[in-house]
Symmetry: C3
Subunit: 117 residues, 3 copies
């Protein structure tokens, strides 16, 4: 079965599709200087919507999500955006932990797995 890669860079692909499974990279916000965790979460989830769409899926088909926060104290702030984004009854299995990420101004990174429509 063939593998389809979306935004396949020399280091990583932004999404990989195999059969009806869609694996996204950990997504971070593009505009980060002076932004809040809520701002970055909004950007990240918009980018995830876009990648899922390119892969033939959408947020109603999420299986799993992993969320990394630079400071776990931002848990409620991140969730204030997350909770409005997910679809009640169609929420993924999720884990959220604290880790530093590739750059100091990355406050949140989210990675999801979904299935195609």
């Amino acid at each position: 079965m063939s593998i389809q890669r979306i935004d396949a860079g020399p280091r990583m692909s932004q999404a990989v599709v195999h059969g009806d499974m869609v694996y996204l990279a950990g997504v971070v916000a593009d505009k980060r200087g002076g932004t809040s965790v809520a701002d970055q979460t909004t950007q990240v989830l918009a980018r995830i919507d876009d990648l899922l769409s390119q892969a033939g899926s959408d947020k109603s088909r999420l299986l799993k999500a992993t969320i990394w926060l630079r400071d776990i104290a931002a848990f409620d702030e991140m969730n204030s955006v997350w909770d409005k984004w997910v679809i009640p009854g169609q929420t993924p299995a999720r884990a959220c932990v604290e880790s530093r990420m590739a750059a100091p101004d990355i406050l949140v990174e989210i990675q999801v797995t979904a299935v195609k429509n």
Copy 2:
């Protein structure tokens, strides 16, 4: 192919089933005040047994596990419980790292992927 969600809350589901695949959320202990890493690990693995059962699977069918410890110094203590829980010859691929989690009294969080029986 349809997706079945178990304990589907507004933020996340405790388990998501797609085809024969079972994706659990990161599970933490419910009773945490004054408990040890071993205590919390025991609670977490009992909850995982319960969720796997609801999803039509069990610990003999584990594919993958991710373990987060608040303090990696508790690695041996967590493993003392883990090693008795897993079935020799049917152990999952595993990673275990240190991260802070959603609340300060969460000492361990475990997330597994399994297949249905």
Copy 3:
């Protein structure tokens, strides 16, 4: 559908194969004393090549990778090895974060999911 386990120890398996899916454990370097992040990354990726081969896959079939660094300041050093290892156009979805791991001299741990050839 049966599950095949490679190097199945009492705690974890180094790889688990189900259908055409291959799930590897988080892999760390065996020789760690006095080594650099680049050295350890080279060892880890060689071991991943070996495990993928045993599972009937290879790095052209990677779906997903998770990388943990003890110190995220080593991001560029790890990538200098990673970027030469992956195959352009066949790169996985990836996330890379900072976490302490099971032993203080583990500087990098990498876990991948792939599909069989």
